[in-house]
Amino acid sequence: APPRAAPPAMRAEGEKPIASPAVRKRAWELGIELQFVHGSGPAGRIVHEDLDVYLASRGQPMTAKG
């Protein structure tokens, strides 16, 4: 179930978030859905710093899904 209020739309509908394996791994471990994270890298790529910003702004990360 979506754990939070509707996030701001940052991508066109159907557009998948783009992130490298390391960023995806960390997001998974932190329980962050990349769909909701702004991508500041080249071509909208989500980079580690975006995860930092996201974490800082949302406070508590949601718990990981098993």
Binding site: P21, W28, G66
Partner: protein, 480 residues
């Protein structure tokens, strides 16, 4: 019940999946027991799969190359072939690797238990000790108690029920033994494993037939890639029988007499010195007492798992061939790491986007991610960069310019979705395409990455430039 041995982590099967899981778990501080029925570690891949096949394929590739060297001013006569020495070479290669695994298991204090394992309940495995080169039972049994388990029991070659039991009818394991020098060989099944073994036997002198039920060889790869391989390899074959079934076989004094039915079936039964069954592999899920542990196994013998490689029983994981396609060693290894890490309390998951495939034929065929066939079937709009190796200085210098490199990009975002390479060493280079996909690279990222000249690898940069319209090593794009 009582247990002879207790551990944090039991791993069943010591193939690429099993040993990697065991080693990773040990590195994470767990007490690990690794159960394997055969004498050496490494499973199918190291003992009777990836490694011995590539040892022979390499020798074959060099022999084939040398056979064209007279035109370059370097003439060798026909070589003297000593099969026993070639077998010894293959055994030495395998021995180096399996020996290395044993040593690394010791360094990691992984306890290796030799025998046939069967679950008896969700926390116990019973092992019937085996010995010798095969699976002789010594009669001894022991019970191992585990907190977590990883099932990595792999797969087995499918045997057609109507094939006679005869030394001239083999699966890939038998074919790798190189028992003799067949004149006429039949490959049942047009997949990678059969075509690789056929390549070796053909270079050593056999004429090949291949029979395949579907309408093309090397299913899964785009047809344009396969076509290049097939054109180069047609001289090896007497008959390529597509959309054709093998319906019967009989062992006679003169050979194995095989009957076919279907579109391209010869009318008469054909006689072969060697028949290789390479019609697929079936998972070992039903042979390990999984039901006693409460682990769900599918009808076909696969064990369903989630993205963390957990079976339906939370402390029991499964990895490798036994969890599904693609049945490839590198998939098993990556799954193994995830399972071990999750069992050790890390929050890992298998979230690689793509798993590359390689046929180690000559030329090699390698592909990863979306194929053109898939793009068409799924209605995905793509932009293609196709670099023919006739424009590659290195391929021409190697007298092997039959190949090509193609990259497929999303037509909208220009991000790479997939790629394929056919040509010598394709498999060594497809990793870059996989990395590009995982990183979300686009045609500019790849094209503006400076690749060294003259290499085959630069064909990847060129293909990206072609997609982008900036390549100057191919004819200009027609303006519309």
């Amino acid at each position: 019940g009582g247990a002879d041995l207790e551990c944090d982590m039991l791993v069943l099967g010591a193939g690429p999946g099993g040993y990697s899981a065991a080693f990773r778990a040990a590195d994470l501080g767990m007490k690990v027991v690794l159960v394997e029925r055969y004498a050496t570690l490494g499973g199918v891949c190291l003992n009777v799969g990836c490694i011995p096949s590539k040892a022979l394929l390499h020798v074959a590739a060099v022999m084939d190359e040398v056979s064209h060297f007279e035109a370059l001013g370097i003439s060798y006569g026909k070589p003297k072939v000593e099969l026993d020495k070639l077998r010894a070479h293959k055994a030495k290669v395998v021995g180096k690797l399996t020996g290395g695994l044993s040593a690394m298991a010791k360094m990691r204090k992984v306890t290796v238990v030799r025998g046939l394992g069967q679950f008896v309940d969700p926390y116990h495995l019973q092992v019937e000790e085996t010995s010798g080169a095969a699976l002789e039972k010594t009669g001894k049994k022991q019970t191992i108690k585990f907190r977590n388990a990883i099932i990595a029991a792999g797969s087995q070659a499918v045997q057609l029920p109507f094939m006679p039991k005869d030394p001239r009818v083999v699966d890939s394991t038998g074919a790798l033994e190189l028992a003799g020098n067949p004149k006429r060989m039949l490959i049942l099944g047009g997949g990678i494993i059969g075509l690789e073994m056929g390549t070796v036997y053909s270079t050593l002198g056999a004429r090949l037939d291949v029979v395949e039920m579907l309408d093309g060889l090397m299913q899964g790869a785009d047809r344009d890639l396969v076509r290049v391989w097939q054109k180069m390899n047609t001289p090896r074959f007497d008959n390529i029988m597509l959309k054709t079934k093998t319906v019967g076989a009989e062992a006679t004094k003169d050979g194995i007499l095989v009957k076919f039915e279907g579109e391209q079936a010869p009318k008469e039964p054909q006689l072969y010195d060697l028949v290789l069954q390479a019609v697929g592999r079936s998972p070992n899920g039903k042979k390990i007492g999984a039901e006693k542990a409460g682990v769900t196994v599918s009808d076909r013998g696969f064990i369903p798992v989630d993205i963390q490689m957990r079976t339906n029983v939370p402390h029991i994981f499964a990895i490798g061939d036994i969890v599904g396609q693609p049945m490839l060693a590198h998939k098993a290894v990556h799954e193994a790491h995830v399972a071990a890490e999750v069992a050790a309390g890390e929050n890992s998951a298998f979230n690689a986007r793509v798993i590359p495939s390689v046929a180690y034929t000559d030329p090699e065929v390698a592909w990863v991610g979306l194929t053109e066939d898939q793009a068409k079937a799924q209605g995905i709009a793509i932009k293609k960069g196709h670099f023919p190796w006739t424009a590659s200085g290195r391929a021409i210098a190697n007298t092997r310019d039959e190949g090509f490199t193609k990259l497929l990009f999303d037509a909208q975002t220009h991000r790479i979705l997939g790629g394929g390479i056919v040509g010598t060493h394709a498999g060594d280079m497809i990793g870059e395409v996989a990395l590009a996909i995982e990183m979300g690279a686009d045609e500019i990222d790849i094209g503006k990455t400076i690749h060294p000249h003259p290499t085959l690898g630069e064909s990847i940069g060129m293909a990206a430039e072609i997609a982008h319209g900036t390549c100057t090593d191919v004819p200009p794009v027609r303006k519309s």
